[in-house]
Amino acid sequence: MDFDFSPIIENWRYLLGGLGVTLALSAVTVLASLLLGTGIGIARVFGPAWLRLPLILYIDSMRAVPVLVVLVWTFFAVPILLSGLSLPPFWAAVVALTVHIAAYVAEIVRAGIESIRPGQVRAGLALGMSRAEVVRKIILPQAVVRMLPAFGSIVSITIKDTAIATVIAVPEYMKRSETLAGQSYHPIEVFTFAMIVYFLILFPVTRLIDVAYRRVAHLGRS
């Protein structure tokens, strides 16, 4: 079998642009999910009781529904529901992926907070700290370190999930690979190359996170 990688070489700008979109989409989604998810996670643990049930329902619903469904629904159904409000594919993908991934972040934050022994909270309160102070000075500094490896997998999950945004025609790397594969009639080369590209991005990310975590792990012990 003959391989011809010239379509990839000739269209390197097109693919590189797609890679840029993938990375930009990942970065925006990770940041937004971390902010939203941390807020929701903290609200779920320390927030008022009436807020807890809707938050649990939201988190569990997102864990139950495929990200593809959230993406497609946000892009195709929301403009019909709220007639007039139609987002461009990129921002629809940001919204859908964030809504989905923030639920996982919220669960990580909750697990991290709950992993701190209750005795520490009681000790803090006994020393005369307010509840807010206990959270800020005792719980969060330890919990954040324990959450780090899970946040790391959120980064790699997000990069992988951005590839699903191809179904709503976001011009990211996956979409552009499909287009190029179709136009050049060289799907073997284009898709195999895409595999290598994604692996080369994702593998160092997971490795770097492991290394970084090992350096700070001692801060989370109690």
Partner: protein
């Protein structure tokens, strides 16, 4: 804007078929990926560094790829490379199985490693073979730690089957997309698809949580 929800009832048979296909895909994938994961995990713990290295490379490669790319790759590239024409269903199943096998292998490896070395050494000192030590001492304890993770993987897998819709496997997501383009009732059909996934996925996610609480080992 007027909505016409009757299309959902009208296409109920198609939705039911899609749901059945989704379950079938998930079950078959797990049926391949559990034994596959055990084999890969044992190969990775092998004393031959070549075998262990090959197994590690395979697992790391498939864990660090977007599943949707794997699906496309299996669809376009596999038939040309191995020169076997597979149905979309078999292709989708292959992609899912490769992905989940890699994850399961890590699960089993972590489960086996979580049993202290001293126990294996004690079994060997009692005159057991390595295989016996694995079967009699390690596995019976490891499976309790593996089961909750497998439950989570199952929940993810159930959702991930939606990705094979891009190569026209007739599971729930694909069926819904087809009905959408036939009827143009976009909101109704997509909402029904989301609701179906929710109804099916929610109890499974809750069951997985329960398994975590029941079997979870707290050190």
């Amino acid at each position: 804007m007027t909505y016409d929800w009757s299309v959902i009832w009208q296409y109920r048979a198609a939705f039911a078929d899609g749901t059945a296909m989704t379950f079938l895909l998930a079950v078959l994938t797990m049926a391949i990926a559990v034994p596959g994961g055990i084999v890969l995990a044992l190969l990775r713990l092998s004393r031959s560094s070549a075998i262990a290295g090959a197994s590690t490379a395979l697992v790391e490669f498939f864990r660090n790829l977007p599943l949707i790319l794997l699906v496309y790759w299996a669809f376009y590239v596999m038939p040309m490379v191995i020169e076997i024409e597979l149905s979309p269903f078999a292709t989708g199943l292959t992609a899912l199985a490769l992905n989940v096998t890699a994850y399961n292998s890590e699960t089993f490896r972590a489960g086996i490693n979580s049993i202290r070395r001293g126990q294996t050494e004690a079994a060997l000192a009692l005159g057991m073979s390595r295989a016996q030590a694995m079967r009699v001492v390690v596995f019976p304890q490891a499976w309790r730690r593996v089961l909750p993770v497998l439950a989570s993987t199952w929940v993810s897998l159930f959702k991930d089957t939606s990705l094979v819709s891009v190569i026209a496997v007739g599971e729930l997501a694909h069926v819904a997309m087809e009905i959408r383009s036939q009827t143009f009732r976009v909101l109704e059909v997509l909402t029904a698809m989301g609701a179906l996934y929710w109804l099916l996925g929610y109890p499974q996610a809750k069951l997985a949580d329960w398994i975590h609480r029941k079997f979870g080992v707290t050190e």
